[in-house]
């Protein structure tokens, strides 16, 4: 009995815990230049591949760089890249979705067929092909991943706006003679943005994962900049002697992805910790679910952890 209750308590703590994990990584990333013990790119070729010591808590890599400082810098790189991609995808997706929903007709049809193409292709293939065409670099990686991620947001936004458009209060505003752009920016987009952000929470982890994967393949963040996927691949040759060079970056990455996925699931199911949990969130979630059902949910393509574990 007592055990059952403790399990329940632990389960209820999951969203808070995931929020804490993400907040911790964001904080470390934001403060990396200040709190990192050493310059993450400072080489000390006389002390390569050292174990843990008071000077280097997690040891050094093959170029004698401080592993802990690089991990902190990595949090900064990964989260910044993920935020850029998510921001870009959100802006493009919201705009295209809004235009498709407002214009309707041929414009809508053309834009939605475009998102069909984007959603039907596996994301890694699209990203790799884009990088192959443009050449690998950090900014091209951000661009490639934005290209991969915007269609899902365009579809979701379109579905949400179409459902909001038919509500009585919008008709009332129309009858009062408001301009289309006013209705769009004052009423429709603000109504759609909540559920879109809910969906974005679950996506953030997968975006961070893609950034790391591309960097792991040598097509994203380039050395010497510290990034987890890139640190992991440069640590692989020393797996036998210095497994820490592989274990820590991978662990950090996995924690962030699990954190975002748990949080995304919690937000979607409205189990959000206090500060975020208001009735508004519940309403947004209902809107998001309605819209997803209307948006022909399977076409959203990507398997999110939310769907997997629902």
């Amino acid at each position: 009995m007592a055990r059952a209750r403790s399990v329940l308590v632990a389960l209820r703590a999951v969203p808070k815990l995931s929020l804490a994990v993400i907040a911790a990584f964001v904080l470390v990333g934001a403060l990396a230049p200040v709190i990192a013990p050493v310059d993450p790119n400072a080489q000390d070729l006389l002390r390569p591949l050292e174990g843990s010591s008071s000077a280097h808590l997690l040891g050094t890599d093959d170029l004698g760089r401080d592993q802990l400082s690089r991990l902190m810098q990595g949090a900064r790189t990964s989260l910044t890249a993920a935020a850029l991609v998510l921001g870009g995808a959100l802006v493009i997706g919201l705009l295209i979705g809004a235009v498709a929903a407002m214009r309707g007709g041929l414009v809508d049809e053309a834009l939605m067929r475009l998102t069909d193409v984007g959603l039907s292709l596996p994301s890694l293939i699209t990203a790799l092909a884009t990088l192959g065409l443009l050449g690998p670099s950090y900014s091209n990686m951000i661009l490639a991943l934005t290209i991969v991620w915007w269609p899902a947001y365009a579809r979701l936004t379109r579905a949400l706006i179409i459902s909001i458009k038919t509500r009585p209060y919008i008709e009332a505003v129309q009858l009062m003679g408001a301009r289309q752009s006013w209705i769009m920016f004052r009423h429709l987009l603000p109504g759609a943005i909540g559920p879109v952000l809910v969906y974005a929470t679950a996506d953030a982890g997968f975006i961070a994962l893609s950034v790391a994967t591309l960097s792991f393949l040598g097509l994203g963040v380039q050395p010497p900049n510290a990034e987890w996927g890139q640190m992991l691949v440069s640590g692989l040759p020393f797996l036998e002697t210095n497994p820490g060079l592989v274990i820590y970056p991978g662990l950090a990455l996995t924690l962030v992805v699990v954190g975002f996925n748990l949080l995304g699931e919690a937000v979607a199911l409205d189990k959000v910790p206090r500060p975020l949990s208001r009735r508004a969130v519940r309403r947004r979630r209902a809107d998001a679910l309605d819209a997803l059902a209307a948006a022909d949910a399977p076409r959203l393509g990507r398997t999110t952890a939310g769907e997997v574990t629902a």
Binding site: P122, S123, L124, I125, L128, A129, L131, G132, L133, L134, G135, P136, G205, L209, A212, T213, F216, L217, G218, L219, G229, L232, V233, L236, L239, E240, P243, V246, I247, G250, L251, L253, T254, V257, V258, N261, L262, E265, T303, A305, V308, T309, A310
Partner: protein, 315 residues
């Protein structure tokens, strides 16, 4: 049914044709001049004359529609072109590499299907039991962990630590186990969830209640009635996972040093080897389209309800 098949094949061919044009145009419009690239590789600091000569040799001075027809015509008769990077025949490169990827994919797919469906069926035998409760956390973890990290941890445990399996390479069954598991784990967990949910839905149907009230065993009902009923959604979900596995193979082949077709694409991307990228993307699109077409036709062959719905829709 025959009419449906013919129409479905027609649409697929059309989609393939459109994809081939799009792939060709995308690669042709990429920034950077392939003629320049090749000329630079032949001799450093190639002058304009050399570049123009190379351009002529590669046929890049002709109008795009002519180039497209030429390209697709060559592919149709089995000439896939030459790699810019290695100057080798792409067709014979792929003939060497596709079997490697096929071995990886088939192993991983079998693992994903058997493990996924197995877990789901066990979960349905004992709802709320240990297996059932573990399937959610397992799914969450396996879609969250980067495959290259999973691979590294497996190598650390089984190759470095226990010395049971080789850490990389492609020589026989023992060296295949870790790649298969790495690639198959996430699809297995996703399949376990999808099949479990479908089975639960199937088990809530009235015919199951009837069967239970007649005294048939729960396990027998699961295997004989519920499982056949979910064949179609299972197949559709599995096809989507196979598509994802092809992209997962890029990472897995890279980390285990397998010389497969996915690694070939990665090399082409790294060196901006445009002819290889074009052919690879085209073949990938074709495989994708064939897979989806097959699933669509097979669903109707398996499930009489879909056929009936279709017949009603037509009349």
């Amino acid at each position: 049914m025959r009419r449906f098949i013919i129409r479905r094949l027609g649409t697929s061919l059309l989609v393939l044709a459109v994809s081939s044009v799009v792939i060709f145009l995308l690669v042709a419009s990429a920034p950077g001049d392939p003629a320049q690239l090749v000329a630079e590789r032949q001799s450093f600091g190639a002058d304009r004359e050399t570049v123009e000569r190379v351009r002529k040799e590669l046929g890049l001075d002709r109008p795009l529609p002519v180039q497209y027809i030429d390209w697709i015509g060559d592919i149709a008769v089995g000439d896939l072109g030459t790699s810019l990077k290695t100057q080798t025949d792409i067709g014979s490169d792929l003939a060497e590499r596709v079997p490697v990827t096929a071995r990886l994919l088939i192993g991983a797919a079998v693992f994903a299907l058997v493990a996924g469906c197995g877990l789901a069926v066990l979960g349905t035998f004992w709802p709320g039991g240990f297996v059932d409760r573990m399937s959610r956390p397992l799914a969450l973890l396996s879609v969250s962990i980067p495959s290259f990290y999973l691979a590294a941890l497996l190598v650390l445990l089984f190759a470095v630590g226990l010395r049971w399996l080789p850490s990389q390479g492609d020589s026989g069954l023992r060296s295949s186990l870790l790649p298969w598991f790495t690639l198959g784990l996430a699809p297995a967990a996703v399949m376990a969830r999808v099949v479990r949910v479908a089975l639960a839905e199937s088990m809530s149907r009235p015919y199951v209640t009837t069967a239970l009230s007649k005294g048939r065993k729960r396990r027998e009902i699961v295997i004989r009635d519920a499982v056949p009923n979910i064949a179609v959604p299972t197949m559709t979900a599995f096809a989507a996972q196979v598509g994802l596995m092809v992209t997962g193979a890029i990472v897995v082949e890279s980390i285990f040093s397998w010389q497969g077709a996915s690694a070939y694409f990665l090399e082409a991307v790294r060196f901006r080897d445009f002819p290889v990228m074009q052919v690879w993307l085209l073949l990938f699109a074709a495989a994708f389209i064939v897979l989806n077409t097959f699933v669509d036709i097979a669903s109707r062959a398996i499930d009489p309800r879909l056929r009936r719905a279709m017949a009603e829709g037509m009349s």
